[in-house]
């Protein structure tokens, strides 16, 4: 199986073969022998050659959040068909503003149809006793504004669309 794994803006092509905790993993043309074991629960132990890593893995977006001691990295995954080229990243089209965490909408700072500039505050959300201003992901017209003052929202809830 082949995946494009995007970490910190860098996309790696990764091919995995194997089973039962033993895998042969090719990363951008270089092959690694990898063994994997689940500790009782929670942490996963990964051995790549002589190097051991103890990791936390959580589902996040299209991939996983991988946590290390003192660091954690978000890995976006896309399964790709054998032989396809590395896809170009898309930066056009409408931009969606979603709630980065569960919380309560305390203020809505714009209205549908308004012209907004990138970074302009659109919505103020409160969670854990702190107010956070959520900003326009890009400049353009505010096509949709779904956030309502006083509304409780879940993480990932769509709040606004800018195009």
């Amino acid at each position: 199986m082949i995946f494009d794994a995007t970490v910190l803006g860098r996309t790696l092509r990764v091919e995995v073969r194997g089973s039962d905790g033993h895998y042969s993993v090719n990363v951008d043309g270089e092959t690694h022998e990898v063994s994997v074991s689940d500790v009782a629960h929670g942490f996963t132990r990964l051995r790549i050659g002589a190097h051991g890593h103890e990791l936390g893995l959580e589902r996040e977006g299209s991939g996983y959040r991988v946590s290390f001691p003192g660091d954690s990295l978000s890995v976006e995954l896309a399964e790709v068909a054998r032989g396809s080229a590395v896809p170009a990243r898309r930066d056009h089209g409408p931009a969606r503003l979603t709630a980065p965490m569960p919380g309560r909408i305390v203020r809505v700072l714009s209205e549908v149809g308004a012209d907004v500039v990138a970074g302009q505050g659109l919505v103020v959300i409160e969670a854990m006793k702190m107010e956070n201003e959520l900003r326009a992901p890009r400049g353009g017209r505010l096509l949709e504004l779904l956030a309502r003052e006083g509304q409780a929202v879940e993480a990932g809830a769509l709040l606004a669309v800018v195009a």
Binding site: L12, V25, F68, P69, D71, M101, M128, N132
Partner: protein, 507 residues
Amino acid sequence: MSKHSFRKLLVANRGEIAVRVIRACREMGIRSVAVFSEADAEALHVRLADEALPIGPAASRESYLRIDRVLEAARTSGAEAIHPGYGFLAENAAFARACEDAGIVFVGPRSATIELMGEKTSARREAVAAGVPVVPGTLEKAAHLDQLARDAARLGYPVMLKAAAGGGGKGLRLVASPDELEAALARARSEAQGAFGDESVYLEKAIVRPRHVEIQVLADHHGHAVHLFERECSIQRRHQKLVEESPSPLVTPELRERMGALALSLVARVGYVNAGTLEFLVDAERKPYFLEMNTRLQVEHPVTEMTTGVDLVKLQIRIAQGEALPLGQADLAQHGHAIECRVYAEDPEAGFLPSPGRITALRVPGGPGVRDDSGVYEGAEVPIHYDPLISKLVAWAETREGAISRMRRAIAEYRVVGIRTTLPFFDRVLRDPGFVAGDFDTSFVATLVARADERSERPVEVAAIAATIRAFEERRRSRTRAAAPAPSAWRAAGRREAHSARIGSRG
């Protein structure tokens, strides 16, 4: 004040501080009573206390801030005393008075003292009367925008808008120029109203590049008071402290003695009783300015405990029992160096956004000189309703250098999966040359955040390999679900994920 030992004490708080107080009670042979909201029925403080009583729905104003329900829980359980921790009702004079009226001992100062020092403008007036220098500013609450604009112009920008009932960085706004004043006032009032139920604000001149240094005091009902030296709290973000230490690398023996004497002068003037902290800003010329007094235990109290050997929570309780302070100023000395990192459920890589959720895996550091005052456990849910502080990690060593190395070692051992925490950010702080040299002020974190993380070798490939193998196994499993699944290293993990997703969607 009669002197007798409490048999039972109620802890009017949650999270790590409730756990801290319950531990002190257990060591003193006092039965502990926890209270909890609907969101905290499975919380650690509820599990550790001898008894636990529900006090209402998740929203704190319907539970932890309900004076009537907390007092009812005290009466029902037969608790003779209430420890308020910090936050919630800890600096609520009406609550302290209600305890006094109900004949329940409030572990803290008298209600009149809380009122006097809790209102920041009257606290400033008391400090001036006690000969303690204060930050230039208004001694009265701001009435309206015009008055505020005139006062700000007189003091000279930048100025600081502060909640009169405030504390903990809520309702606090730095205003750099007149055109920012109106918007800053609205935000400060809104946050102050939300956090303290009082939208009053006042104005102070902003001290440029200050250090935040505070003095811990303890006073008994018999007129004895001591100070327990300083804590350095300059590593803050948006006026929320992140890292504290004692001693302060900035404070000279002369300054320490002077600030201690200033603190005791204010304590004597207001007849202060129990534990309290005087916060100061110290400018580039090492001149201290009194900011405010916190009439309660502080989050960062462990660094004082580690360097003085004094258990502040036990002494709070003994003072509340009417005992005389068992030590004098001459008995107190600082030994070694302690650092505290506040482990918040916040994502430092996403602008410190709150990160509530279930802790799916947890490993806590140990070994010499390491203390973790936590309020959570593996499998615990960090609720969205409360302050994001989940734990305080403290490292002690003979020297500051040793304490930094030990803290970095402890951070590397500390593993939290399921939510984001500020732990990775602390490693950045601790290896910063400015921090290591002791050369920093309250702008340190903002500067560090603005700089790109200079970590050169982040484990990008390992992360990609781990995530890809997991996805590979999950997809293969789902594609062959009809057939009996082969034994797989990933199955247990997959089952757990499905289980926690179910629990998560219920709430």
